[in-house]
Amino acid sequence: MGALAQVATEPTQAAPAKRVTGKRKKWRPVKIPSRFEALLDPGFAAEIAADVPDGEDLRACIQCGTCAGTCPMILYMDLAPRRIIGMIREGARDDVVHSTTPWVCASCYSCTVECPKQIPITGIMHALRRIALREKTYPRGLPVPLMEREFVNVIEKRGRSTESWIAMKMYVRTEPTQLLRHIPLGLRLMRRGRMGFGRESIRDRAQLRALLRAVDEQPRKSAAPTSRAPGVPTPGTGGAS
């Protein structure tokens, strides 16, 4: 929870009672990194644009901030969606792929439908998650990436998800102590027949596995953009550590 605790100390809304402390415990410097052009990846925008339907529209962003204003999760993001779009456009690849923002995104699509330039922001967040998983730049403090992996593994193997199993596995792997907190709720649900430990599965697992394999084997939808700055060394990454 390290990353979260850090971002959550900067609430700008009328924050929940517990969070309004009014004083900062320790002075800390505000970091505003300067960026050399050599550290930017000019091909990043094209890379994202190619990976998201209508992703090309991100170039039309006018930085109005509607996405951030409408975002229910903004409080917990290290970079506002607006900044993510701006940074993608200018090629601040390293910061963006390390950001917590795509992982905090609730996929509620508010930004996508409210964006006056109709940029598929949620789709871009998903694309960023894919990159971060591929390149292992996802924030280590958040369990979301692990959970998504776990979820996908279960679906690929069994065809259906069983909520209780995924949750359990998650807690065991990340915060075993949290599991204890949820035992009472689990019991209540079990008593009401809403939770069990039987694992769901489809019959024709072989077909599903073959289908997913076949997706990989089909000719790719488009060649991935090639231009990428050669191994950019980056001082100080944005977001989670």
């Binding site: 900067e10 700008t12 809304q13 009328a14 006018i62 930085q63 109005c64 901030g65 509607t66 996405c67 951030a68 204003g69 409408t70 975002c71 903004i74 409080l75 506002a80 607006r82 900044r83 409210e114 006056p116 330039k117 109709q118």
Partner: protein, 674 residues
């Protein structure tokens, strides 16, 4: 003007000798030459049949370029001209004139559009050169078949009609009237003045809108050269440039305009003691009686009865105290619609705009939260002649302590209007100033980008910022009454990212002002059809050329002024209205216009008398001689569409400049050399 005129001193170069075609390929700087291999096109052209001269030049439309054509014609090297350059809609007239100056018919000319149709739209240079060749070949084949035609002239009616009497129409009408032309000024509303009459102050000088507008309004009323028709609209337009026949409908006011003196005694005496009905002029913020005048300086100062709400019209039972109150017997409850038909030489459209309907953005809660206003409503609240006498107060009568002004409502938004409405930044600053001045409220402006290009505009922005108005850079995501803290309780909360601060803010306010953008009038499409002009994708009327012909339209004799052509502020509108008046004046003052030569004719020898063409002609230009069983075209009425020609089963109907032979030649040309 750009009409071709033949040099009267010279004799035609050749009318019956074999065709000698000159081909002139334009580089247009790099616009064409950057893509098309101009030398190759010239080389290709010189191999074509009938071509005697093939040249290229950097800018054919320049004087030296035109001189090339003239010299070759005069030297007898050529007697037909093909220019391969831009679109004929751009420079056809120019080159026809050059051809005529060379001593032949201006119509011994054909243009090949290798810029708009080739170099600008083709990715590959070789493809472009090929396509240019094909178009040149087609033009060469076609021009050989061009007949010797004389330009036609038509006389122009001296009067002008101006449609719409906002500031644009008023200014155009006064300009023309001052020049001695008679103007028919038609206004749909009961008063002239348009949107400008609703404003309190104008930016950036903050001079009072009424103070600068009403003198012009009364000038219109009293000008001997202006016939003012309010509460009227154009219902039909016939004819063409120089001679339009316009039918105007006058709606009944139930009060005779010639008798009413505007004493307003009748309103006082109306059986309704209080105003009861939504007052459209005040954007529904005030109430009016069934008999009313929109505002004290309304022009003409004539009352109007609204039959929808008047008890007499609804029930037939009313003592009609209004009639008794009138000393001049101006009432006429039997009035009906009347019509006028006038002939004018030119028409200026100044039909204005409407404001964006803020309810189309549900996130801002307009029409849902009572304290969310549009900017036009606030203009009325701030206006001394408005429903509150100039007090910026909320619907419950209290003064707002905090006001949020949201810019770009409906503008710069793909879901609504993608364009920038141009005026909202400035008027929002003006409203911020006025609201702050009148109420002492804290004012927040939420903007995406501030756009203040204009004389004195940036200085005004500067001044407003120094007055302490909060400028928050961020588009508002939502206006809500959901309270998350005690100070938000019972107020409206504006949620937006302050992109400069880098955080999302929730700002509780008492009043929200939506700076709505400008949109085409809802009936712009109907008006467009009526006057035979076109609209752009966003619905504003399209000018003939965005830079070089900003007040003309594709229909000769119809001009544009003001916001009907696109969002504009008052200074721009007035400037454009003046320009439109000048263009119209230039046309009617000369007294004649040149007409296209492309009329239809019927070859009597081949006409079989089937009458197919007669019924098809949209302009009833074809007469039929029952005795000789032959149709004939009245070339004065014919507008040159060629519908009859396309339909004639015997090939007897033909169209000048678009004969079957010419088009077959063009088809062969585009296909032959690919």
């Amino acid at each position: 003007m750009l009409e071709p005129e033949m040099d009267p001193t010279s004799q035609p170069v050749s009318t019956n000798g074999g065709p000698k075609v000159g081909v002139y390929v334009c580089h247009c700087g790099l616009n064409i030459a950057g893509k098309v291999d101009v030398q190759a096109v010239v080389g290709f052209a010189s191999t074509l049949p009938n071509v005697t001269v093939a040249r290229d030049y950097k800018f054919m439309c320049s004087d030296p370029g035109q001189d090339l054509i003239e010299q070759d014609l005069r030297a007898g090297l050529v007697n037909r001209v093909v220019v391969a350059s831009c679109s004929p809609l751009m420079h056809e007239a120019t080159f026809r004139r050059a051809t005529a100056k060379g001593g032949t018919s201006p119509y011994h000319f054909q243009m090949a559009s290798i810029r708009e149709h080739v170099s600008w739209v083709t990715a590959d240079g070789d493809d472009a050169t090929q396509k240019a060749n094909a178009l040149v070949a087609a033009a060469v084949r076609r021009v050989a078949l061009h007949e010797f035609l004389e330009p036609r002239q038509a006389s122009v009616r001296p009067d002008v009609m101006v449609v719409g009497a906002g500031i644009a129409g008023i200014h155009a009408a006064l300009t023309l009237a001052d020049a001695g032309k008679h103007v028919y000024l038609v206004e749909r509303e009961t008063t002239i003045g348009g949107h400008m009459a609703k404003f309190d102050k104008t930016f950036p000088t903050l001079d009072c809108s009424a103070c600068i507008l009403t003198p012009k309004m009364s000038q219109v009323r009293s000008h001997p050269n202006i016939t003012l028709w309010t509460y009227s609209d154009v219902v039909a337009v016939e004819g063409f440039t120089g001679d339009f026949k316009v039918r105007v409908r006058h709606r009944p006011r139930y009060v005779r305009e010639d008798l009413c003196t505007g004493c307003l005694e009748c309103i006082e005496q109306c059986i309704h003691k209080q105003g009861k009905f939504e007052d459209e002029w005040n954007e529904g913020l005030g109430k009016r009686k069934p008999i009313y005048i929109p505002f004290p300086q309304a022009t003409p100062a004539v009352v109007v009865v609204d039959p929808e709400t008047c008890i007499w019209f609804k029930t037939g039972k009313c003592p009609r105290t209004c009639i008794e109150a009138c000393e001049r017997d101006a009432f006429d409850f039997e009035q009906t619609e009347t019509f006028d038909e006038v002939n004018v030489g030119a028409i200026i459209l100044a039909t204005g705009f409407k404001t964006f309907d803020a309810a189309r953005i549900p996130a801002y809660g307009y029409g849902y939260y009572p304290n969310v206003y549009t900017s036009l409503e606030v203009e009325r609240l701030l206006n001394a002649a408005g429903p509150t006498g100039g007090d910026a107060i909320l619907r419950d009568g209290t003064k707002p302590k905090t006001v949020g002004i949201i810019h770009c409502v409906g503008s710069r938004d793909e879901r609504n209007n993608a364009y920038c409405s141009k005026v909202c930044c400035m008027y929002s600053l003006k409203l911020a100033h006025l609201v702050k001045e009148r109420t002492g409220a804290d004012v927040y402006n939420f903007y995406i980008d501030m756009r203040t290009p204009g004389k004195g505009y940036e200085e005004f922005y500067d001044r407003i910022m120094k007055e302490g108005v909060h400028m928050v850079r961020g588009r508002v995501a939502e206006v809500t009454d959901q309270a998350r803290s005690p100070q938000e309780e019972g107020r409206l909360v504006i949620r937006a990212e302050d992109t400069l601060m880098g955080s999302v803010r929730r700002i509780p306010v008492d009043m929200v002002v939506l700076a709505v953008g400008m949109e085409p009038q809802p009936d712009a499409q109907d008006v467009r059809r009526l006057f035979n002009i076109s609209c752009g994708g966003e619905g504003f009327f399209t000018e003939r050329h965005p830079k070089l012909a900003p007040v003309s339209t594709f229909t000769d004799g119809v001009f544009l002024a003001g916001a009907c052509q696109g969002p504009k502020d008052i200074p721009d509108t007035v400037a454009q209205a003046g320009a439109a008046a000048a263009e119209a004046l230039a046309m009617v003052d000369r007294g004649y216009v040149m007409l296209e030569a492309n009329t239809a004719w019927i070859d009597e020898a081949t006409c079989s008398g089937c009458k197919t063409c007669v019924g098809l002609c949209p302009f009833s230009a074809i007469a039929f001689d029952e005795e000789r069983k032959k149709a004939s075209v009245n070339e004065v009425v014919c507008k040159g569409c060629g519908i009859c020609v396309g339909a004639c089963p015997s090939g007897a109907a033909q169209q000048h400049l678009f004969t079957d032979a010419q088009i077959f030649a063009e088809i062969e040309g585009v296909l032959e050399h690919v």
